[in-house]
């Protein structure tokens, strides 16, 4: 697989990125190079700046310093090639609209201003819904969806965009087993098509299974590379240990670390809503 990346323009290249909210740095001097065609998990404790990093790659934030290149060009010129799956909680599911309508929003970018989606967009949206196993719910009001269904609607919306890079913010957060499997299948399909996926991920146990690259982030970049090379106890301790030095958690990790990869605390703690950008 590594051969394929050689000599190619990386899908995403982040250089010296520093982002701050008020005085607090959310990201400090982060470098990241994501070769085309990998599934990359971004892991790190709460407040590590994971969502912030995604938003910066999308060009939704203005960094204090540094730049982001997408296929060698500024992100503004490459919007069509990126698609984004936000956290489920970031939108109001009481909004009066249907599943199909939300999925069709993925086509708005190429439609541009004023033009309305038509039959073609509708067909594509239905096909994407089919792909995530939601076709028969296409007329359902979004207020009636379960959490897993909401997540799949968002995934279908991203698929409709037919991008080269997929940015996902905690796609596995709080979903049922069925949806989790559906997402995994989808990730594999995307990899087979040579797409790049960058996902904020929480469940450390499943990182080696679902992803092939991993970035360990805690405001600064701790490590990034193929899972086999960088996903080790040393790096995990650097990532989670420093931040939680005062908490009992750190001691626990030290005691139990030899046996397992650091336990997934943040999930049992009710999810990562404090990524600085929330």
């Amino acid at each position: 697989m590594a051969d394929r990346h050689n000599g190619k323009v990386p899908a995403v290249e982040v250089q010296d990125l520093t982002v701050a909210y008020r005085e607090q740095p959310a990201l400090w001097d982060v470098d990241l190079t994501v070769p085309s065609g990998v599934l990359l998990a971004i892991v790190g404790p709460n407040g590590a700046g994971k969502t912030t990093l995604l938003k910066a790659i999308l060009g939704l934030l203005r960094p204090v310093a540094g730049q982001v290149l997408v296929f060698g060009q500024p992100v503004v010129q490459q919007r069509r090639r990126i698609s984004y799956v936000p956290q489920r909680g970031s939108v109001d599911w009481d909004f009066p609209t249907s599943v199909l309508d939300v999925v069709m929003m993925g086509t708005y970018g190429e439609l541009g201003w004023i033009r309305r989606p038509g039959r073609r967009e509708r067909e594509r949206a239905l096909a994407a819904l089919e792909q995530v196993g939601m076709r028969e719910l296409s007329d359902r009001q979004i207020s009636q969806l379960s959490g897993g269904q909401q997540q799949r609607v968002f995934l279908a919306r991203a698929l409709v965009q037919d991008a080269d890079i997929y940015l996902m913010d905690e796609p596995f957060q709080g979903v049922d087993a069925l949806t989790e499997r559906a997402i995994v299948t989808l990730l594999q399909q995307l990899r087979a098509q040579g797409k790049t996926v960058i996902a904020v991920h929480h469940d450390l146990q499943t990182v080696p299974e679902y992803f092939d690259w991993v970035m360990l982030l805690n405001v600064r970049r701790i490590a990034c590379g193929p899972v086999a090379q960088v996903f080790n106890e040393h790096n995990l301790r650097l990532t989670y240990g420093g931040r939680f030095a005062m908490a009992a958690f750190a001691r626990e990790v030290d005691e139990t670390a030899p046996a397992v990869i650091a336990p997934d605390r943040s999930r049992s703690g009710g999810g990562d809503h404090g990524t600085g950008a929330a």
Partner: protein
């Protein structure tokens, strides 16, 4: 009805519809209170504009006042962005200040100019028919009608044109930004529309009550439908209803027309709140009641199933003892049994209860679930 009465109702209906359209988006975007701020702060723009032009219908005044509205939205956002105060507090700081300057200006100079505090603040629709448009000697109707009509058309056209963008930026601003639709442009577009509408509405309903026409019909519509396009139409329809019924309430009580319109808008919301088909209080209460009876019937079926499985427990199957066993109120138990009978879940033979096949199935299902 006399001609002025018809004209007043027409103006009221048009203004209400014009307000309700942007109002629907304000409600969905959680910006209801920005419309409150805009319509208050607008007073300053109108007063200053009036001092300069001496004409409440001058295009310059309308533009100036609209810009004041936009400025208010901008100030609220800037203040919020400093991170020193929260958004609600930012709203609560900006508009009273601008509004106060407006009120002071009116009271200081109202003597020398023809601008009545009450009219600007509270609106006086009753005077609207006296201000006529005359073209080449022909009286072609009251000015308010044309002003309101133009604004309604502008709002409807803008929303129709940018429906997709408004929907996207309202539902998921992050995605809108990522797709290259500037949420800021859409936000300020909507704020501009709101300001223009508030300017157009103020001399009919006054600076304060425009908020009622922005929010109440849209909030009611929000409870009645799950489809954005339908919500927009419904908002406009409910706004018109509030305007017309408000007019007649005012006529009946010989009271403020604007106030009556706001009151009726509130009544309409209240009705939707209580009686909305799926989300209303009544519907919710009935759903809860139905669930309660359904649950009780399942309990009954499970109870009977348990008894079937342990023979020799005959007495408990008597309706007479059932309520003690299940710790139910006696009347409640009787009702549950007769409901279950109606549904064919149980049969009764000389005071003894037996499960039917259907009841047995339900009990087994419930146990599995």
């Amino acid at each position: 009805m006399t001609a002025p009465q018809v004209e007043i109702q027409l103006i009221a209906a048009i203004v209400a519809a014009a307000c309700a359209l942007p109002g629907a988006f304000l409600v969905l975007r959680r910006m209801a209170l920005i419309s409150d701020a805009i319509s208050h702060a607008m007073l300053l723009g109108i007063v200053v504009g009036f001092f300069l032009t001496q004409d409440l219908n001058s295009p310059l005044l309308i533009i100036g006042a609209t810009l004041t509205g936009l400025l208010t939205a901008l100030l609220v956002e800037l203040l919020h962005r400093t991170g020193l105060v929260r958004e609600d507090a930012a709203i609560g700081l900006v508009f009273p200040a601008l509004f106060s300057i407006g009120v002071i200006l009116i009271s200081r100079y109202a003597g020398s100019v023809h601008l009545d505090t009450d009219v600007v603040l509270l609106g006086e629709l009753a005077f609207a028919p006296f201000d006529r448009v005359v073209v080449a000697g022909w009286d072609i109707g009251p000015k308010g009608l044309y002003a309101g009509g133009v604004i309604l058309l502008i709002n409807a056209a803008l929303i129709a044109l940018f429906y997709k963008e408004l929907k996207l930026a309202t539902f998921d601003p992050g995605l809108a930004a990522a797709l290259g639709f500037s949420p800021a442009a859409i936000h300020y577009g909507l704020m501009g529309m709101t300001s223009l509408t508030a300017v157009g509405a103020f001399d009919s309903v006054g600076a304060i009550l425009t908020v009622a026409l922005f929010i109440a019909p849209a909030a009611a519509a929000y409870l009645l439908t799950d489809d954005l396009a339908r919500m927009l139409l419904l908002s406009a329809g409910l706004g018109i209803t509030a305007a017309l019924s408000g007019y007649w309430l005012a006529f009946l009580l010989d009271a403020s027309i604007a106030g009556s319109m706001a009151t009726m808008a509130g009544v309409i919301f209240g009705l939707a709140w209580c009686f909305a088909p799926e989300r209303g209080l009544v519907a919710a209460a009935r759903r809860r009641a139905r669930q309660r009876w359904e649950f009780a019937q399942r309990m009954l079926a499970i109870h009977l199933l348990n008894h079937e499985r342990q023979p020799g427990a005959e007495p408990e199957l008597q309706v007479e003892h059932l309520w003690q066993e299940l710790r139910w109120d006696r009347g409640f138990a009787t009702r549950v049994v007769s409901l279950a009978e109606e549904r064919g879940l149980v049969t009764r033979q000389d005071g003894r209860l037996e499960l039917t096949d259907r009841g047995r199935l339900l009990a087994q299902e419930s146990l599995l679930a």
